[in-house]
C-alpha cells in the first residue's frame, strides 16, 4: 500500500502545472501517481495512503465543481490512516476576502473524517484580508498565487515538498 497520489483536474491549467512541478520535486525518491479529480471514485481515493489534493479556489471562496461533487462521497469516508496535503491556487489581490478558501474547506473536511493533515505553510509573504485556509499563522496547505506572485511559486513548492517528503516517508 503506502501509495502516494496527487489528485487534480487534468483539464485545469495552472493547477495542473503546479502538480507537474510538485511531482518533479518529489522525484526520484517518491513515485507519485497522478489522478484526475474529475473522474474520482471512493475506491480510487481510498486506495492511496498519502494524498496530495490540488484544490484551487473558485469564485468567491468555493471548491471547484469536481471537488464539490465529490464532497458527499468524502463525507461518508473513514480517512483514518490517510496522510493528506492540500495545495491550491488563489488570487490575493482580486479576491482578498477569500484567499485560498477552498484549501481550508477541503482541509476541514478531511480532518473531520480522521485524516492526518500535513503540509501546513506560513502565511508570511502574503497580503490578504481573510482566508478559510488560515489557522493561526499558517495555511492548512500550500496556497499559490500565480496571478500576483508567480515568481514565488517555484520556491514555495520546493520548500513544501521538502516538508512533505519527511511527512510521507
Amino acid at each position: 500500500m503506502n501509495k502516494t497520489g496527487i489528485f487534480y483536474s487534468f483539464s485545469s491549467t495552472k493547477t495542473a502545472k503546479a502538480a507537474e512541478k510538485i511531482c518533479e520535486e518529489f522525484e526520484p525518491e517518491f513515485k507519485i501517481q497522478k489522478v484526475n479529480a474529475e473522474e474520482l471514485t471512493e475506491e480510487l481515493f481510498l486506495s492511496f495512503t498519502n494524498l496530495i489534493l490540488g484544490v484551487p479556489t473558485w469564485f468567491d471562496g468555493e471548491l471547484p465543481i469536481y471537488w464539490d461533487e465529490f464532497v458527499p462521497a468524502i463525507e461518508d469516508l473513514d480517512l483514518k490512516g490517510k496522510t493528506i496535503a492540500i495545495y491550491g491556487l488563489g488570487n490575493q489581490v482580486e479576491y482578498p476576502e477569500n484567499f485560498g478558501d477552498a484549501v481550508g474547506i477541503m482541509a476541514e473536511l478531511v480532518k473531520e473524517r480522521g485524516a492526518k493533515l500535513v503540509g501546513l505553510t506560513s502565511t508570511e509573504g502574503y497580503t490578504y484580508e481573510s482566508s478559510r485556509a488560515e489557522i493561526g499563522d499558517k495555511f492548512m496547505g500550500l496556497v499559490l498565487d500565480q496571478e500576483t506572485q508567480p515568481r514565488l511559486s517555484k520556491e514555495r513548492i520546493s520548500n513544501w515538498v521538502k516538508d512533505l517528503k519527511a511527512q510521507f516517508s
Binding site: I65, E97, N98
Partner: protein, 680 residues
C-alpha cells in the same frame, strides 16, 4: 454565526423530491432557452433576462415559499423561482408574450416580470430592488397580525447598491421583521462588475453591523446548499421573527438580457468557465454519480418537460391579446362616495375649529372607525409630539405604538413600506406623513412613482390604499426645503389623487374620504393655515368631501378666480376689496386637483367670461397651466379676455421675509392682476 444544518443532501433527500426538482429545473431551462425564439419570431418576449446559472437558489427560493401564506417579490430574472413557486409553464409564457391572460399585468407590464397576486406573488416594478421596501412593509403586517409567515424579497446583488435597499434592511433590523432578503449574486449589474459596485465581494457582508440580521452565504449554483440555506433562513425568520439575508453565489451563463452582448465585456475564458459550472448539468451528474437515478429515468423526466412545454406553448399562443381600448382602465380605483354629503357641502352651525384641529380629530375618528388603520412618519409619535406641526398629537396615546409610530428619517422607506403593508390585506388603510415638509419629499419620489402605477400595472389587481400627508407651502419664513410647493410636479404623474384644501371643513372631509377610499391619495396641507383663524370653520362630525368637487366660496359675475390652498383666502380678500369698488368676483376653491372638477370651472367660465388662476406654486409649469389649457380647449369662445395666472416666480422661495414677499403671491398681487383683467 451558527452553521446551516444539512437537511437536504444528494444521498438522503427522498427520490420523489429529487425528481420534482429535476423536472422543474429541466422545464425552466427549456423555457429559458426557448424565450429568445419568441422575439426572433416577432411573437413577443422582447425583454428576457436568462436565469441560467442561478438554478440552485431559484429552485430553493420557490420551494421555500408557501403560497397564500408567505409573500414573495420576484425580480426580472426569476423565471425558475416562479415555476418553483408553483406557476405553470403556460403562465410563464403568457407573461413572456404579454397576453391578456398574463397573471402579472395582462400585457401592461414588461415581460419577464412574473407574479401571481392571488398567491401573494407580488407584481414588482423594473426598478431594481425597490420591492425590498415592499417586502419589509408586508412583513410589518405579518408581524402585526401575528401570522406565521415570511416575506421574501428576491433580487440581484447589484441592487444592494441602491440607497432604498439599505433603508429597507435597516427597517427590518430595527423593527425585527420576518423578511428573507434572497440575494442572487452573479457578479454583474448588466455589464458593471461587482468591484465597481462595492468594495466587498461578499456584498451581504456590508450589512454585518446590522443588529438582528442573520447573514447566510451559499453556493447558489448548488441545489442542496441553496435548499439548506433557504430552509434555514425560513426556519430562523419564522422562529425568531427576525430578518435573514441569504447571499447566493451564482454565475450568469449568458448576457444580462436579450439587449445585452456580454462578449463585449467578458473574456472568452470567463464565458467558458461560467458555462462549465452549469448548475443543471451539475445536478444531473450528481443524480447519476450517487445512483439516485438512471440515465433512462432522467431522460424520461426530460421528455416530460419537453412535452409540457410544447403544450404550454400551444395554449399560450391561442390566448387572447390585450384589448388596447382598455388603456384607461385601472388608472385609479373607484373612491369612496360620500352619501350624506355628495357635493361636499354642509350648512352646519356652531363652534369653528381650526384646520389643525380638523385634521387631528378626523384622524382620530377614522382610527376609531377602522381598526386596521395605521399612521407613521417622521417626528410622529414621541410623548406629546405628533408630527412636526403636531397634527397627529395624541394619536399614539389613544391608539398605541403599533398603529401610530415614528419612522426613520428615510422618506422612501416611509412611502415604500406603506405600499408594502397595504399589500397584506385590502382592509388596511395607511396614512403617512411623507416628509417633515413637502420639499423634503423628493427622496421618496421613486416609491411615489412606483406606487402611482401599481393599479394600472397589475391590471387592477392591487392598489396601495395609502394617504400621503404633506405639510406644504410657504408664508412661514422657512426658505428652501420648508416653503416650496411641489404639486405642479406631482400632477403630471397619473395614478394618484391630489387634494389641497383651504378650510378646516374641507380638510376634514377630504381626509375622511381619502382614508375610506381605495388607492393612493396625496393630501397637501397648507401649513400656514393650520392655526390661522381665517381657515377655521364649523365642521360636521361626519363630514365628507368627494374627490373632484370644487367649492364656490364666493359667487360673482365679473371675474372668476380659480384657486386652492393658501391663495384661496387671498383671492377672497382681494374679491372683497374689489367688491367695494363695484366688481363682482367669484372664487372657486378647487379642493381636488386630481380629479379636477372641470364642470364647475367651465360653468363659471362660460357664465362670467373673465378668468384668473391663482396658486402659490410657480406660475411656470404650475397646475394653473393645466387649468388654463382645459379652459382654452373647452371654453375659449366664452372668454372675454386672456386668462391671467398669478403664482410664485420661477425661483426657489427665499428665506428672508423680503424674499418671500417678493416671490410668493399675496392679496395685493392678486388684486392688481384682477384689476387688469377686469379692465380688459
Amino acid at each position: 454565526m451558527t452553521t446551516v444544518p444539512k437537511v437536504f443532501s444528494i444521498k438522503t433527500t427522498p427520490k420523489e423530491i429529487l425528481e420534482k426538482w429535476y423536472h422543474l429545473m429541466t422545464l425552466g431551462r427549456a423555457i429559458d432557452e426557448k424565450a429568445p425564439n419568441y422575439l426572433k419570431q416577432a411573437i413577443g418576449w422582447s425583454y428576457h433576462a436568462p436565469y441560467a446559472g442561478h438554478d440552485g437558489i431559484q429552485l430553493a427560493i420557490g420551494q421555500t415559499f408557501e403560497k397564500e401564506v408567505d409573500h414573495i417579490f420576484l425580480y426580472y430574472r426569476d423565471m425558475l423561482t416562479a415555476l418553483s413557486c408553483g406557476m405553470t409553464a403556460e403562465e410563464i409564457i403568457l407573461n413572456g408574450i404579454s397576453k391578456a391572460t398574463d397573471l402579472t399585468s395582462g400585457g401592461r407590464h414588461m415581460s419577464n416580470h412574473f407574479a401571481k397576486i392571488a398567491w401573494n406573488m407580488h407584481n414588482v416594478s423594473s426598478l431594481t430592488g425597490n420591492h425590498t421596501l415592499h417586502a419589509v412593509g408586508v412583513a410589518r403586517a405579518i408581524k402585526y397580525y401575528g401570522e406565521k409567515a415570511v416575506a421574501i424579497s428576491v433580487q440581484g446583488e447589484s441592487s444592494l447598491s441602491e440607497g432604498y435597499v439599505y433603508e429597507a434592511i435597516n427597517g427590518a433590523s430595527k423593527e425585527k421583521l420576518p423578511v428573507i432578503f434572497a440575494i442572487q449574486d452573479n457578479g454583474y449589474g448588466i455589464s458593471v462588475p461587482k468591484k465597481d459596485q462595492t468594495a466587498n465581494r461578499k456584498v451581504a457582508n456590508n450589512f454585518t453591523g446590522f443588529k438582528n440580521l442573520r447573514i447566510i452565504h451559499c453556493n447558489g449554483k448548488d441545489v442542496f446548499e441553496s435548499m439548506n440555506a433557504m430552509y434555514e433562513a425560513k426556519r430562523h425568520a419564522l422562529e425568531t421573527g427576525m430578518p435573514v439575508m441569504v447571499q447566493a453565489n451564482c454565475v450568469r451563463m449568458h448576457s444580462h438580457s436579450n439587449s445585452d452582448r456580454h462578449e463585449l465585456y467578458r473574456s472568452e475564458d470567463e464565458r467558458g468557465y461560467v458555462l462549465d459550472y452549469d448548475p443543471l448539468t451539475k445536478y444531473k451528474r450528481m443524480l447519476l454519480r450517487y445512483e439516485r437515478f438512471t440515465q433512462e429515468e432522467l431522460e424520461t423526466i426530460e421528455n416530460q418537460a419537453k412535452t409540457e412545454l410544447k403544450e404550454a406553448h400551444k395554449l399560450a399562443l391561442k390566448a387572447p391579446d390585450p384589448d388596447p381600448s382598455t388603456y384607461l382602465d385601472f388608472v385609479l380605483p373607484e373612491p369612496h362616495h360620500p352619501e350624506k354629503y355628495p357635493d361636499g357641502l354642509h350648512n352646519e352651525t356652531g363652534e369653528k375649529k381650526k384646520l389643525i384641529t380638523a385634521l387631528n380629530e378626523t384622524l382620530k375618528a377614522e382610527f376609531r372607525h377602522n381598526p386596521d388603520t395605521f399612521i407613521w412618519g417622521q417626528d410622529m409619535a414621541n410623548k406629546d409630539k405628533g408630527g412636526i406641526f403636531n397634527v397627529s398629537k395624541g394619536l399614539q396615546k389613544e391608539f398605541g405604538p403599533k398603529r401610530v409610530f415614528n419612522a426613520p428619517i428615510a422618506e422612501d422607506f416611509i412611502v415604500g413600506t406603506a405600499n408594502g403593508m397595504s399589500r397584506y390585506d385590502e382592509k388596511i388603510r395607511i396614512v403617512i406623513e411623507g416628509a417633515e415638509f413637502a420639499d423634503y419629499f423628493w427622496p421618496a419620489m421613486e416609491q411615489y412613482v412606483d406606487s402611482s402605477h401599481d393599479y394600472w400595472r397589475s391590471n387592477g389587481q392591487f392598489t396601495p390604499n395609502v394617504t400621503i400627508r404633506l405639510a406644504s407651502g410657504g408664508y412661514i419664513g422657512g426658505g428652501i426645503y420648508h416653503s416650496q410647493n411641489i404639486e405642479g410636479a406631482l400632477t403630471s404623474i397619473p395614478g394618484v389623487r391630489i387634494v389641497y384644501p383651504s378650510f378646516a371643513d374641507d380638510a376634514a372631509g377630504l381626509l375622511r374620504t381619502a382614508m375610506r377610499s381605495r388607492g393612493l391619495t396625496m393630501f397637501m396641507e397648507p401649513k400656514a393655515l393650520y392655526n390661522d383663524p381665517k381657515a377655521a370653520t364649523v365642521i360636521p362630525d361626519d363630514f365628507e368631501v368627494p374627490f373632484g368637487k370644487a367649492r364656490i366660496r364666493r359667487d360673482g359675475e365679473d371675474l372668476v378666480m380659480i384657486t386652492y390652498g393658501n391663495t384661496t383666502h387671498m383671492c377672497l380678500e382681494a374679491a372683497e376689496k374689489l367688491s367695494k369698488e363695484g366688481a363682482s368676483v367669484e372664487v372657486i376653491d378647487l379642493r381636488s386637483l386630481i380629479p379636477l372638477d372641470k364642470e364647475t370651472i367651465l360653468n363659471s367660465v362660460k357664465r362670467i367670461g373673465k378668468v384668473m388662476i391663482v396658486h402659490e406654486d410657480k406660475v411656470h409649469s404650475g397646475f394653473g397651466s393645466e387649468v388654463t389649457s382645459v379652459i382654452m380647449e373647452e371654453a375659449f369662445e366664452y372668454l372675454d379676455g386672456p386668462i391671467k395666472r398669478v403664482g410664485s416666480s420661477f425661483t426657489p422661495v427665499g428665506f428672508h421675509r423680503s424674499f418671500e414677499r417678493m416671490i410668493l403671491p399675496n392679496t395685493e398681487k392678486i388684486y392688481i392682476a384682477a384689476k387688469e383683467v377686469l379692465a380688459y
